[in-house]
């Protein structure tokens, strides 16, 4: 299943907050500098909802990514399980 590691710094908190609103995403705080966000289906984030500036939006997976990014425009990004790219 797709998973991202989110670096535990203020500029990436919107990712964690956004994921916590989703029942189908699991958010784990590791206490070692990363949050883990994973989903059984696809992971999807909205820039408008998170109010991320573009420079952060395009660097928000710097913590690490398990999966494949199938779409990524100015407002929406979708990550699916590896090998499930249509």
């Amino acid at each position: 299943m797709p998973l991202i590691y989110v670096v535990d710094v203020p500029e990436f908190f919107p990712l964690v907050e956004s994921a916590r609103k989703r029942d189908d995403y699991r958010v784990t705080e590791t206490g070692k500098g990363y949050f883990v966000i994973e989903a059984t289906g696809s992971l999807q984030f909205s820039r408008k909802e998170m109010q991320l500036k573009p420079a952060l939006w395009y660097g928000m997976f710097t913590g690490g990514l398990e999966g494949e990014i199938t779409e990524w425009d100015r407002d929406t990004v979708t990550i699916v399980d590896i090998g499930k790219k249509p």
Binding site: I4, Y5, V9, G33, A55, T62, G64, E68, I69
Partner: protein
């Protein structure tokens, strides 16, 4: 004009003739010692000066001194550096705060080589210096003041830990003014090490295959594996 003076044997033995290896020898890191080996830790203490060449003396002085308002602190004018091939020059320094200066070399009687022409490319603008301000109000003051003086300034750009504005000087050099939004933390350094470890591993693998790293996603996937290990097996 610098006179052409034939080199004597003793000239050839002087610094510029014989000790130029530091300028000419390629650096092969595999041949060099490391901190871990000798235990000697070297530390820097901020910026003394940055330096770039200019072929526009008046415009550069006007821009930095009169438009940006940075005091001119020092000018060196010299006949080469005692080296017969070195043009006569001016080397001048504008105050950039906290003891740092923005310096230029103006080489007398030379034309700007084509490769120093400014370009609208990421590779070109990657060589720049970001000068700090202390508050958001100061950053806004820079942008609003320079715009009111007629300069084209970028929108505010928020990065990880930094917010910046950008503009160009009369030479075409990019200048960045930055506000640090937070202190760098231990987690930043830990994460930086893992990101670069992932990228260096992939670079080594690509080099071995005569290819290049495909995209950032490839690095992020390798990074995830390293972070997973770092966290003790997720």
């Amino acid at each position: 004009m610098t006179q052409e003076i034939p080199l004597t044997e003793s000239d050839r033995n002087r610094t510029y003739a014989t000790k130029r290896e530091y300028r000419t020898r390629d650096v092969d890191v595999s041949e060099l010692g490391t901190v871990a080996e000798d235990g000697v830790e070297l530390r820097m203490h901020g910026v003394d000066h940055t330096a770039r060449p200019t072929w526009k003396l008046r415009e550069t002085v006007t821009f930095y001194r009169d438009i940006l308002g940075l005091p001119l602190l020092h000018t060196i004018s010299a006949r080469g550096w005692g080296h017969p091939d070195h043009p006569d020059f001016l080397h001048f320094f504008f105050d950039a705060g906290k003891g740092a200066t923005i310096a230029f070399f103006y080489y007398i009687g030379t034309d700007r080589p084509e490769r120093y022409e400014p370009e609208d490319s990421h590779f070109y603008t990657a060589t720049h210096t970001a000068w700090g301000v202390e508050t958001r109000e100061q950053l806004e003051r820079w942008k609003e003041t320079l715009e009111s003086r007629g300069l084209v300034v970028s929108p505010y750009t928020r990065h990880e830990g930094l917010e910046s504005i950008y503009f160009r000087d009369p030479n075409g050099y990019p200048v960045e003014i930055s506000l640090r939004l937070r202190d760098v933390m231990e987690v930043d350094a830990q994460d930086a090490a893992l990101t670069l470890q992932a990228a260096m591993e992939l670079e080594d693998e690509a080099n071995a295959e005569g290819t290049k790293i495909g995209d950032i996603d490839t690095i992020w996937r390798r990074k995830a594996a390293l972070v997973g290990e770092f966290l003790g097996g997720k």
